[in-house]
């Protein structure tokens, strides 16, 4: 899977309240509606600026906080192609894979907002086309790769009726 887009940079410890605030997420299952408010408390213009396929780029512990799956779903519905971070909080990481949002662990320290990036999940490589730099990405555990390649956990269950991972 090859992904291409522009970087939108954020800092460390971006929590799920910042990705989508609790004041919105309890009201609706309409993810397009939630997507209008994605990252609002950190960057009120983000939802308007983000283009389909763009990347959210962050530091450590992206997605810490609550278990709300509305967080990866709001990012997906805002058009975000993948999240790149130094590390992820574990529930967000699982939820992202389960819902089909690619999450990439790599060194993000040299990426700046606006950089054009190319991510190859199979090759495990991130190319920063703007800066001409290549960075290796940490491979997904095989279980998660299986779920992601099935199109998420719902598709996996639709196909097998239960966990079919071993």
């Amino acid at each position: 899977m090859e992904l291409r887009g522009k970087a939108h940079c954020f800092g460390d410890d971006v929590n799920t309240d910042y990705i989508i605030s609790g004041k919105y997420k309890f009201k609706t299952l309409d993810m397009k509606e939630l997507a209008k408010h994605v990252m609002e408390d950190l960057d009120p213009d983000f939802a308007r600026r983000v283009q389909p396929g763009d990347f959210v780029v962050a530091g450590r512990n992206f997605g810490c906080g609550s278990s709300r799956e509305q967080a990866p779903l709001a990012l997906l519905n805002a058009g975000v192609g993948a999240v790149l971070a130094q590390s992820f909080a574990r529930i967000f990481y699982r939820n992202a894979i389960n819902t089909g949002l690619p999450v990439v662990i790599c060194d993000t320290s040299l990426i700046e907002s606006g950089d054009e990036l190319l991510v190859d999940l199979e090759k495990g490589l991130l190319q920063n086309l703007t800066k001409g730099i290549e960075v290796p990405i940490k491979p997904l555990p095989s279980v998660m790769l299986k779920i992601l390649s099935d199109g998420g956990l719902a598709e996996h269950f639709r196909k097998y009726g239960t966990f079919h991972l071993e």
């Binding site: 609790g22 309890f26 810490c64 909080a89 389960n98 719902a154 239960t162």
Partner: protein, 417 residues
């Protein structure tokens, strides 16, 4: 090779001889979802072509985050949960029953050695009962409702040994805020935390829940404790199930062992907007506050309400402060009525809201205004957490919140003890 509690429980439930970093598919003893996560789980269940809930008596929905419903949209999602649970013969705890992380232990659904998943990040609370309990998302919950199973990466364990005796006026909340400030918000990410040592053993089971509840605030998957006599007594008083306590082996392998002497610990405060931004109360004493909150899955238990009532007895909430109290469950509400703690709080000027999450997550029950400072017994102080990104949230123990509510500014509770 010896095993940690996490390795033993996941071995027992998967039928494998599992160690840290192994992947297992394990049988889950109890599954839970709340009103912020269950509606999406129902959608995922439908997308998976789910035909029914596996062993529906070991699965529950809890309506606690927006309860009673403050909005039409929320009401529709609550109706969806009620309909699904009825069709599938699942348990449902509706408005006024309480917050999920009080109800699941209180109703006897979890105990030593249990494996529990909940679609709420603070599911780690039940680790205080020696259960491997962890938060998941809605799609994982749907998969577990259908299959009764879940996949896990067996976590490494980081052990926190707390020596000494907590001083008077210093509580389990202060201890966990201190530990989180020491290891930071991702200090235990992907790992199991084990909390042990004489300072933990000296705590009541209620006080221990506060510590395990906040394990996720250091990134941990679970916040485990040993099942001592206090735990066994507590569980026997709440459940008819048979539970097998699980202990770590002496030669179990740990990612790290961290030792602390807590005998000199001060009351602790997490400053805005990070849970790991903890300082001794003295550093922020005198900060004016406009709202004080006692409750939530962290600190809404009888012991918490009693400690607050002892400070507020014969005193009044400061005229510039709103004090909001949310008992963690209907039973606690009744117990606090019985003991008089609730009467004391109400006489002092508290506004008591429905048992449940209260104002913690910004859905209702006390949204702060721009520029206001809130002192709360909750577990998160992120910007915007209480639905206003221009408010400031300080986290503290029930004693510190009560003392601060009286003086109208952040206050060391030892002034009142």
């Amino acid at each position: 090779m010896g095993k940690t509690i996490a390795e033993k429980i996941l071995s027992n439930k998967s039928g494998k001889n599992a160690y840290a970093n192994d992947i297992v598919v394990a049988d889950v003893d109890f599954r839970m979802g709340q009103d912020g996560t269950s509606p999406l789980a129902i959608r995922a269940f439908e997308a998976m072509n789910g035909k029914g809930v596996y062993d529906p008596e070991s699965a529950a929905f809890v309506i606690d985050h927006s309860a009673p419903s403050p909005l039409e949209g929320v009401s529709a999602l609550h109706a969806l949960m009620r309909q699904f649970s009825k069709e599938n013969n699942m348990l449902i705890y509706d408005i006024g029953d309480g917050v999920c992380h009080q109800l699941i232990p209180e109703k006897g659904h979890v105990g030593p050695g249990s494996l529990v998943i909940g679609a709420d990040s603070h599911t780690c609370t039940y680790g205080a009962l020696n259960a491997f309990a962890t938060g998941v998302g809605s799609t994982d919950l749907a998969a577990a409702l259908i299959s009764g199973k879940m996949w896990f990466k067996v976590p490494e364990t980081i052990k926190f040994v707390c020596h000494g005796t907590l001083p008077a006026g210093v509580y389990s909340k202060d201890l966990i805020l201190y530990l989180i400030s020491q290891v930071t918000a991702d200090g235990a990410t992907y790992m199991a935390a084990e909390y042990t040592g004489e300072a933990i053993q000296a705590l009541s089971v209620e006080a221990r829940f506060t510590i395990s509840n906040m394990a996720v605030e250091m990134g941990a998957k679970v916040g485990l404790m040993e099942a001592d006599d206090k735990v066994m007594e507590w569980v026997q008083a709440h459940s008819n199930h048979k539970f097998e306590p699980v202990s770590s082996d002496p030669d179990a392998e740990y990612a790290a062992i961290k030792e602390y002497d807590v005998s000199q610990l001060d009351p602790y405060i997490a400053k805005p907007h990070r849970v790991d931004n903890g300082v001794p109360v003295g550093e922020v004493a005198g900060t004016p506050i406009q709202q004080a909150v006692i409750g939530t899955c962290t600190n809404g238990r009888l012991e918490d309400l009693t400690i607050a009532a002892q400070i507020l007895k014969g005193r009044k909430v400061h005229p510039d402060v709103r004090l909001i109290v949310a008992p963690a469950s209907r039973q606690i509400y009744l117990d606090a009525m019985e003991t008089g703690a609730l009467k004391t709080l109400v006489e002092a000027g508290a506004a008591v809201v429905t048992p449940g999450c209260g104002p913690c997550v910004g859905t209702h029950n006390g949204i702060p205004s721009d520029g206001e400072n809130v002192i709360s017994t909750a577990n998160r102080n992120f910007k915007g957490r209480m639905a206003n990104n221009k408010a400031f949230i300080y986290l503290a123990s029930p004693a510190t919140v009560a003392a601060s509510a009286v003086k109208g500014e952040i206050t060391d509770p030892r002034e009142f003890i």
